[in-house]
């Protein structure tokens, strides 16, 4: 059944019926091609999604000071809340069990200058823990440490792009830059996965910044990291307790929603993961849909092909083709075409995905890819269903009596 002669017979049939071959081949190739592209795009979407939301540490709360909306304890509403050093110490003391680290973040804008080069950058006055919160990666030197905070040193850690902008290839480490009117020594250069904007920041100890700003004790926002072992439930409880604690300290009504904002990354994470699996589901759905469309396409074409060949099959049977050989011929032909076309579609799709890489970053599709296993599985699935799709009409054709087939004119 699968000898060289029957293959030759099939190649002849295929090459002499180009339209038919093209139609069935094209359907399969297109089906697989679209499947690969869609699946790849889905993965690309997931990639950019992950990059957007998974860049920072996931075990942190951010506390933002706001303005009261409800009068409380003799205070009128509309009062601005500010966090100060006492808050920092109180939180550290009261939540020692849950707390991993805490860091303030005071954000300013400064003109920063090195020799005669200068530019505007965001300045972040922080404590050492901030490095973990932002997953800041040191390229050289070190981050702000506890000694810097304690001693109010005039040390700065600059972003990779700040170094490139201001130093023009020179090594920034150990050099002095002007932040505003004051001179800081560069002790580290960092990079960050969060993208270009994250690498145009300059970090200094928050205590130094307080000193510069007339020895204030105000802090801006607070980033509070909990110990991961307390788990999601523990984090939620910690969040509620922390909020109550802070409201009490600042004479804020428990019902006041505006005085302090708390963003819980753990909660975000949960939502993001849900969104991520939703995305995965959509991708899988679309993929399965494409495959089903491909299978329906190839089935229809096989029905048409066999119908078109009814007379030919009748002739073949009249001169000695057994029902088995008729089925084998049609099956072999359809499996050969689907296999060849399937792999054309598969590699066409993979080739396109590879050539896309980062060029669709702006459309939130980053590094689209499909893993080979999924792609080959889809192709094999289509081949199997192509075979089944060919088998059903082939068996019917093989059963038609030759006189009936020959009468069909």
């Amino acid at each position: 059944m699968f000898n060289r002669d029957s293959w030759q017979e099939i190649f002849e049939t295929i090459s002499k019926n180009k339209l038919r071959t093209f139609l069935s081949g094209f359907t399969v190739a297109l089906g697989i091609f679209i499947f690969v592209i869609l699946f790849g795009f889905g993965n690309g979407l997931k990639n950019s999604f992950q990059e957007f939301f998974m860049d920072d540490a996931t075990n942190i709360f951010r506390l933002f000071p706001g303005r009261t909306t409800i009068p409380h304890n003799g205070f009128k509403s509309g009062r601005d809340i500010e966090f100060d050093n006492a808050d920092l110490v109180a939180i550290q003391k009261n939540f020692a069990f849950q707390l991993q680290y805490i860091t303030p973040r005071i954000q300013r804008n400064y003109t920063i200058k090195y020799k005669n080069k200068s530019n505007n950058y965001g300045l972040r006055a922080v404590a050492s823990g901030h490095q973990h919160a932002e997953k800041t990666i040191m390229m050289k030197g070190r981050f702000i440490n506890n000694q810097d905070v304690l001693n109010k040193t005039k040390y700065a850690v600059i972003g990779r792009l700040v170094e490139i902008d201001l130093f023009k290839g020179e090594d920034a480490l150990g050099q002095f830059i002007d932040i505003g009117k004051r001179s800081f020594k560069v002790v580290g250069v960092f990079q960050d996965d969060g993208g270009d904007n994250e690498e145009r920041f300059v970090y200094i100890p928050y205590t130094t910044n307080q000193l510069i700003e007339k020895n204030t004790d105000k802090l801006g926002q607070l980033i509070v990291a909990f110990k991961p072992i307390i788990g999601y439930q523990g984090a939620m409880k910690f969040e509620a307790e922390l909020m109550t604690f802070m409201k009490k300290r600042h004479d804020i009504s428990t019902k006041d929603e505006g005085a302090i904002y708390l963003r819980n990354v753990a909660e975000d994470l949960e939502q993001n993961q849900q969104f991520g699996s939703l995305l995965q589901m959509v991708v899988t759905f679309v993929g399965i849909g494409t495959l089903i469309a491909g299978i329906i396409g190839i089935s229809n074409i096989m029905v048409y092909v066999v119908k078109e060949r009814t007379k030919e099959l009748g002739i073949r049977k009249a001169i000695g083709a057994t029902p088995r050989s008729v089925i084998a011929m049609i099956l072999q032909e359809s499996i050969f075409i689907t296999t060849a076309a399937g792999y054309i579609g598969l590699f066409g799709g993979i080739f396109l995905l590879n050539s896309i890489e980062d060029s669709l970053d702006n459309y939130f599709i980053k590094n689209p890819y499909i893993n080979m296993g999924t792609a080959i599985f889809a192709t094999v699935l289509l081949i199997i269903f192509g075979g089944i799709a060919g088998y059903v009409p082939a068996r019917r054709a093989a059963r038609i009596k030759p006189i009936v087939a020959l009468r069909d004119e």
């Binding site: 007379k311 030919e312 001169i319 057994t322 020959l406």
Partner: protein
């Protein structure tokens, strides 16, 4: 070569039963050239199809070369057809995407003859019907007479015991018809048993025996003096 006893065949048309063959008895010896005549609808094709194992009788016995033909499933029928019988149809029934040579070689493919031998034999039979120069042409590039010659070459290629021709000249003009009949006579001269269904008297006269069908039975069966087709050409 062929022995038929009390052959019956009916077709179901809706709820009615159309009794087409009502007891056919006939013996055909090796080397005969028999014309089966009768008006349209008299059951000529039905008889030929049963002889050709393309259809099965409801009742009666059929011996082909002393071999009882009964209880045929599709696979067996296909094998017997391939081994014992060659068909020639009014509408030629060539495969349109295959060349003349490939069409002639096809029965040999189903006999599992190797490719080289197939091509060589097919070429021989093409030469026999005078079309060796047309071997690479598609049926659509050939005239009606040429197509029928290809069909005859194909029927011969399998070296069958009996050739069955259902109105082989039905689609051809008279000159071409005579050429085809001349070829059939030549093949018969070499000893092949041939049955020709026709409703044209001049074609029947070119056979050696005429069997007349009417209302499902044979009403006449006579030997005739064969008119040579070459006399007409």
């Amino acid at each position: 070569m062929i022995e038929i006893k009390d052959l019956h065949k009916s077709y179901k048309i809706g709820k009615n039963l159309l009794h087409v063959l009502k007891g056919i008895n006939i013996n055909i010896e090796e080397g005969e050239l028999v014309a089966i005549m009768g008006s349209s609808g008299s059951g000529k094709s039905t008889l030929l199809n049963i002889l050709g194992m393309l259809d099965v009788a409801d009742k009666g016995s059929y011996m082909l070369d002393n071999f009882p033909i009964k209880d045929l499933d599709e696979t067996k029928a296909a094998k017997y057809r391939n081994k014992f019988l060659g068909f020639i149809f009014q509408s030629f029934n060539l495969i349109n995407y295959k060349t003349a040579l490939e069409n002639v070689a096809l029965p040999l493919y189903y006999q599992k003859v190797g490719r080289a031998e197939r091509t060589e034999k097919a070429m021989q039979y093409l030469a026999k019907v005078g079309l060796e120069d047309w071997s690479s042409h598609l049926p659509s590039e050939l005239s009606g007479g040429q197509k029928q010659r290809i069909a005859i070459a194909r029927a011969l290629a399998a070296q069958p015991k009996v050739l069955l021709a259902d109105e082989p000249t039905g689609a051809l003009d008279s000159t071409t018809s005579y050429e085809v009949m001349q070829l059939i006579q030549d093949i018969n001269d070499e000893g092949k048993t041939i049955l020709v269904v026709t409703h044209e008297d001049d074609i029947a006269q070119m056979c050696k025996r005429i069997v007349l069908l009417k209302d499902g039975v044979i009403i006449d069966d006579k030997k005739v003096n064969q008119v040579r087709a070459s006399d007409h050409v």
